[in-house]
């Protein structure tokens, strides 16, 4: 039967899901996204490859200095040091925190690949999501959806579709890293690398939420893809630059003791997504959850601002 005025919560969720499927189905088949995913895979492989090369060089130099035999593949010496706690001891000697000790218990490739993906996934999603709605507004394809479901369902469906793409990109990154660990390193079993990276996926995804919200918000507010991307990039790098500047200012004002300015700057820092990087690597769950919540709120705020424009605009 055709719909005749249904508006239940179930229908709302169904529409969001259908739009997400539509978004992901269309995006995955577009050559631009296929190229972008290939680029993403290439960057992950290149970054991991660079790390393994550097690690191999360091281990070879250390083996030479210590007069012990070297291995063809990197990871043996570092793995042994981490296993026996020597690296943790060194870190503590130079002032490392509990946080660092926690991190040094993780497989080294998990730390590296996790950090690389956490650093690059936001940019990948920012660019992809900025085109999501704006491209369809620009060529008016959005009209096929707008006459069938509400604009909030369209926006949320697009968001969910982009989360799906993020999970796909992360899956590619995890798979490639695990493979490189298995075949190019010593002592990096697939299970450990995959398990460690999968455990990091929620944090990586959370750190990407502000970029996702910003990209989609810009996409809903602008009329063209280039306008949306420009808006999103200004917001993204603007908040990064502001974060760096505020951190420097805070360090300086701490020595001067300007209490009001410190409070204001602390408050402003909450709104800047880069401030959550450290907390998302913390061993303390409350810190991680608070950072996840802050990232989600920043992303939701950007999304809501874009939706406010999109819900009333001419299509």
């Amino acid at each position: 039967m055709q719909n005749s005025g249904r508006n239940s919560g179930w229908d709302f969720l169904r529409d969001v899901w259908l739009v997400a499927v539509y978004e992901a189905q269309e995006a995955v088949r577009t050559r631009l996204l296929q190229v972008a995913l290939l680029g993403w895979a290439g960057i992950v492989v290149a970054a991991n490859g660079l790390f393994l090369w550097v690690l191999h060089e360091i281990e070879a130099a250390m083996a030479g200095a210590l007069g012990v035999p070297t291995t063809d593949r990197p990871g043996a010496m570092l793995g042994k040091m981490m296993e026996e706690g020597e690296l943790d001891g060194v870190a503590r000697m130079i002032g490392g925190s509990e946080n660092v000790s926690f991190l040094l218990q993780q497989p080294i490739l998990v730390l590296w690949a996790g950090a690389v993906m956490m650093m690059l996934l936001p940019e990948f999603l920012l660019i992809a999501s900025a085109a999501s709605v704006a491209a369809e507004v620009q060529n008016r394809a959005i009209r096929y959806l707008a006459c069938r479901t509400g604009r909030l369902q369209i926006g949320l469906g697009k968001l969910l579709g982009q989360v799906g793409l993020a999970l796909l990109a992360l899956g590619i990154g995890v798979g490639l890293s695990a493979g490189m660990g298995l075949f190019l390193m010593v002592g990096q079993p697939v299970g450990g690398t995959v398990g460690g990276l999968l455990a990091r996926v929620p944090a990586i995804l959370a750190f990407s939420l502000p970029a996702l919200g910003l990209g989609l918000g810009a996409s809903m507010a602008a009329r063209t893809v280039s306008g949306a991307r420009a808006l999103a990039l200004i917001g993204f790098f603007g908040s990064f630059i502001t974060y760096v500047w505020l951190r420097a200012e805070l360090r300086e004002s701490a020595t001067k003791g300007v209490a009001l300015w410190e409070r204001l700057a602390d408050l402003a820092m909450i709104l800047l997504f880069p401030s959550n990087w450290t907390a998302l690597w913390s061993p303390e769950w409350p810190d991680v959850l608070a950072a996840v919540a802050r990232c989600a709120i920043i992303g939701a705020g950007c999304f809501a601002a874009g939706m406010a424009v999109f819900s009333r605009r001419d299509l």
Partner: protein, 303 residues
């Protein structure tokens, strides 16, 4: 059926362009009022810039009217929650997503319209059959020609047999056979569905529609049944194979006071002509929609 499927009353719509301080406003609709009878196939006619697409876009919910009332199927202005599945729309100039196939797109759109399970599959196959696209239904849209893409958009408007169908230039880009086939499909809907068609193809509209709305400068100029507009009940033209008394076309116009039907008048005139030795070539009831349009709107200079 009976009643009114589409009603607009005093609708105004302005568009703004330019930067703040240098803004220019253009009036697209200036008090547009119209009614489309339920079950009719209604032609929506006007010169370029008259406000046809703006009107269709407001009816479809893509644009919001600045002032005035809009009512579709008795449920107020277009709202996806109230009207989805009940109103089918063929938007003008809207590109299709290039990577999906027509069948995939129609399936998703059908589900968004509230169809489910076997009903979606049935509706998709019917729509593809209507636009003669089943054989290419699995290919990505980007591999289809312009005409085929147009047929996908027509299929999207007809998907699930909505009560009201809004078509903006439906046969634009279709070849003559496809256009004739689509006309046939729309004719079948007469009396069962309400169809509003915006087009510049007046002969086609005249063949297909039973009601017409003329608009210009953002206002409705005339709205009437097609037979009344073309004079199909009150006038006819008899064409002779050779001139008789210097005239090859014999017009018949019934005065309002004439008690005869047009059929009776034609029969009497034919009898007189045949008795006079004339050979009949053609009998055509009414004038043309094009003639009436040009009489109403003028030849279009300076538009």
């Amino acid at each position: 059926m009976g009643g009114v499927a589409v009603r607009m009353s005093g609708v105004q719509k302005r568009f703004v362009s330019g930067l703040p301080g240098f803004r220019r406003w253009s009036v697209a609709l200036d008090g547009m009022s119209l009614e489309v009878p339920t079950g009719s196939i209604c032609a929506f006619v006007g010169p370029n810039g008259a406000g046809k697409t703006t009107t269709m876009s407001i009816l479809s919910g893509y644009l919001e009217a600045d002032t005035g009332q809009v009512d579709l199927l008795g449920g107020g202005p277009f709202d996806p929650a109230r009207h989805r599945g009940r109103v089918g729309v063929l938007p003008q100039d809207a590109e299709l997503p290039p990577a999906s196939s027509p069948r995939q797109l129609l399936r998703i759109w059908g589900r968004l319209q509230g169809l489910s399970g076997a009903a979606v599959e049935r509706a998709v196959e019917e729509a593809l059959e209507t636009v003669m696209l089943r054989e290419r239904a699995e290919e990505p849209v980007r591999a289809l020609s312009h005409g085929m893409r147009r047929r996908v958009t027509v299929a999207s408007a007809l998907l699930g047999s909505p009560e009201l169908i809004l078509l903006d230039e439906p046969t634009s880009g279709l070849d003559p056979a496809q256009a004739a086939h689509l006309r046939g499909c729309l004719e079948v809907l007469r009396g069962r569905r309400t169809v509003l068609i915006s087009s510049h193809n007046l002969p086609e509209l005249e063949r297909l529609c039973d009601h017409a709305v003329f608009i210009d400068k953002g206002r409705c100029q005339q709205s009437a049944p097609m037979r009344a507009l073309t004079g199909a009940d009150r006038q006819a033209v008899i064409t002779l194979e050779a001139p008789l008394d210097g005239a090859q076309e014999i017009p018949i116009r019934l005065a309002d006071s004439d008690p005869r039907t047009l059929g009776e008048a034609i029969t009497q005139e034919l009898a007189r002509l045949i008795a006079a030795g004339a050979r009949i070539s053609e009998v055509r009831r009414g004038g043309s929609l094009e003639r009436r349009y040009l009489d109403t709107e003028g030849p279009g200079e300076g538009r």
